[in-house]
Symmetry: none
Subunit: 201 residues, 4 copies
C-alpha cells in the first residue's frame, strides 16, 4: 500500500528505470557534475525525457536513486557491520572503507553530485536521510551499542554525537577538498572519539 504522488507504478518499464540510473552514474563519473543534465541522461539511457520527468521530481531525485541502487547492489535487507569484539578495530576499518569509497570515482562522483543537490534542496535532504543515511546510521549505532555492552564505550555515551564526530570531519574533507582522507587521519579521528567516550575509570 504505497502512497506515491507518481503515476501507476505497475506499468513502469524496469528496463528504462535501470538504464536511467546507470546513465546518471556513468555520466557524472565520466564527464562531471557540470555536464550531468536531464537531456544527457535521457540520451545516454536511450529514453525519452518525459520518462525521467514522469517518475522523478528532479535531477537530484534521480541521483538519490542512483546512489541507492549502487549501495544496495546486492542486499535489500538491513545492513550489518562487522563486529570483531574490538570497537577500535572495527571503527578504524569502517572509516578506512568510507575513505576508500570517497576516493573511488565510480562511487564518489554520483555521491558528490547528490550532496550538491541535497545542499540546495531540503526536500531531497529529507529523502536522503530517510533512505540512505538513516539505515547506515542505524547499523553503526548497533555496533556502538554492542561496544557499550562490552564496556568499551561509556554507557551514557551519545551515539548520534559519536557518529557525527566520526563521519562529519571525513565527509567535510572530501566534499570541500579541505584535508586528507588517509587512514592515518581516520585512525586518529577514531582514537580521539574513543578517548572522549570511553567508560570512566
Amino acid at each position: 500500500m504505497t502512497t506515491r504522488s507518481t503515476p501507476d507504478t505497475s506499468r513502469r518499464s524496469e528496463r528504462s528505470r535501470k538504464a536511467i540510473l546507470q546513465a546518471a552514474r556513468d555520466l557524472v563519473a565520466e564527464t562531471g557534475y557540470a555536464k550531468l543534465t536531464i537531456e544527457a541522461i535521457a540520451a545516454r539511457a536511450k529514453v525519452g525525457k518525459q520518462t525521467i520527468y514522469r517518475w522523478w521530481p528532479s535531477k537530484g531525485a534521480v541521483l538519490l536513486d542512483s546512489v541507492l541502487a549502487l549501495s544496495q547492489a546486492d542486499q535489500d535487507q538491513d545492513i550489518t557491520l562487522p563486529d570483531t569484539g574490538d570497537i577500535e578495530t572495527d571503527l578504524k576499518a569502517l572509516m578506512r572503507a568510507t575513505a576508500a569509497e570517497f576516493a573511488a570515482p565510480a562511487f564518489a562522483a554520483p555521491l558528490r553530485a547528490l550532496t550538491i543537490e541535497i545542499t540546495a534542496d531540503p526536500r531531497l535532504a529529507d529523502d536522503y536521510h530517510k533512505r540512505v543515511a538513516a539505515p547506515m546510521e542505524e547499523a553503526k549505532k548497533q555496533r556502538l551499542r554492542s561496544a557499550q555492552r562490552a564496556g568499551q564505550l561509556a554507557a551514557d555515551a551519545d551515539l548520534d554525537l559519536i557518529l557525527d564526530m566520526l563521519y562529519a570531519p571525513l565527509a567535510q574533507h572530501w566534499m570541500l577538498h579541505s584535508g586528507p582522507l588517509a587512514s592515518d587521519y581516520t585512525d586518529r579521528l577514531v582514537d580521539a572519539v574513543l578517548r572522549a567516550f570511553s567508560p570512566r575509570t
Copy 2:
C-alpha cells in the same frame, strides 16, 4: 603589488563592485540559490554582464567575495578570538556564535550558495580555504595554543583535528539539514572534544 590575471584594477568602478556583491547576497537571500544567475545579479546591480565576467571567473568567485565582504565588514587585519582564560567557555561561545550565523538568512544563504559552488569546483575550494577558512582557523588555533599553555589541553593535541571535530559536525548539520544547530548540541560537542584532548593526569 598583486599579480592578478585580470585587467587594470585602477580603472575599476568601486560602485559597480559593491553593487554586484550586494546584489548577489540580496538575491540569494531573497530568492534562493536556484535563481542566483549572473544575469539576475547584473540586472539587480544595474550593471552590464561583462562587468561581472571581467572581474570574476565564475559565479562562485562572486559569492566568495560576497561572503568575504560580509565577514570582514569592518576589519582588514587579523582576527582575534576572545580569551577569558577558560577554553571551555570560549569554545562554547564560539560554537554558539557560529550556529547563530548558520541560522541567520542574510549570512547563511550566501554561505550555503558558496558551499555548493565550492563542492563542485576544486579551484574555488582552494581560494575559499586561503581567503576565508585559513585566517579563521589560524585565529582558532591561537586560542587553542593559549589553552595548551594554560594546561587546559594536552601539549601534543592535534589542533587541526580538534577544529575538524568541532566545526565539521555543526557545518554538516547545517548544510545537509541533518541535525540540530542548538546550543545544547554545540555544548555537548565542545565537552566531548575537550574530554578527548584534555591533558593526561
Copy 3:
C-alpha cells in the same frame, strides 16, 4: 464490400467513431485549430489514442470524416439543388447559403482546419475532392446544364470554369480573410459570371 487497408471493420465501435468525429468538430470550434491534437480528440471523446490511429491515417482524415458527417447529417443519397427555372436566382441563393456556412463557426471551423490539412497533404486533397467536392460539383453542374437547356447559359459554356469562377473568389475571401462574404459580393459575382457565359445574341 470495401477494400480498405484498415482492420476488420465489423468489430468497429460505432460509439467511438461518432464520439471521435464529434470531439474533433467541437474542439476545433471551441479552441481553434492550434489546439486540435490527436491527444485532445482522444481525451474529449473518452477514447484511446490507438482507436484513432487504427481507423484514420492522419488528423486530416479525421477532419474529413468530421466535415463529411456534418454535411451529410441526413442524406446519404445524391445532392440535388433547387431549380426555380431562373439560374440567376438559384445561383445567388446558393452562393448566399455558402457564404452563410462560411460564417457559421460550427461548420466553418472544422472546414477551415480541414482546408489547412489539405493544403499540406496532397493525398488528403484527393480524398477531399472525391468524397466532398466532387458530389457537390456534380449537383451544381446539373443545375447549370438545366440552365443551358433553358437557354440561360451558352451551350458551349465551360461548366467547370464557371464553378471555379463562382466558388474560388468566395472561398479565398473566407480562407485568407481577404475580403467580404456578404450577399452583395456574391450577387455581383454571380452577375459577372452569368454575363461571361450568357448565350450569344
Copy 4:
C-alpha cells in the same frame, strides 16, 4: 518612424536576418512544410533560436519575410506591370507567369507554407495583405485602369472583383491541388473575365 513591438532594430545582425530567411526558404523547398521547424531553421542558419524569437512572433512571420525577400529580390519601389496596349495579351501573360511561379518549387514551397500559416492566423493574414498582396493588387489595378481608359474594359467595372475572379480560381487549383495550372486554363479564365467586363456595345 516605425512603431514595432520588437527590440531596438539598430543592433540587429543583418547576417543573421538574411541567413534565417534563406534557411526557411531552403528548408521548406527541400524537406517540405512538415519539417519546417524553428529549430531546423535556427540550426540551418547557424543561429540561436532566441534570435528568431526575438525578431519574429511566429514561424509564419518568418515565412512572410522570406517570401517578401524573394519577391522583392531587386526592387524596393512600386511594382509596374507590362502594358502592351492590349489588356488581353497582358493579362494572359501575367496569369501564365503566376502559374509558372506556382509550379516552381523554390517559390511555391515557401508561399504554400505561408498560405497555410495565414489560413490559421488572422493577424498574419492582415500582414500578408498589407505587405504582399496589396502592392501587387495595386499594380494590377493600374493596368486595369489603363485598359478602362483605352476602352477595353467597362468604365464602371469592379476592378477588385475582376482581380478576384482572375486570381482566386488559379490560386485555388494550386493550393488544393484541385485543377490545372496550364496556360490553356488561364487563357480561358482571362477570356471569360474580359467577356464579363467588356464595355457594353
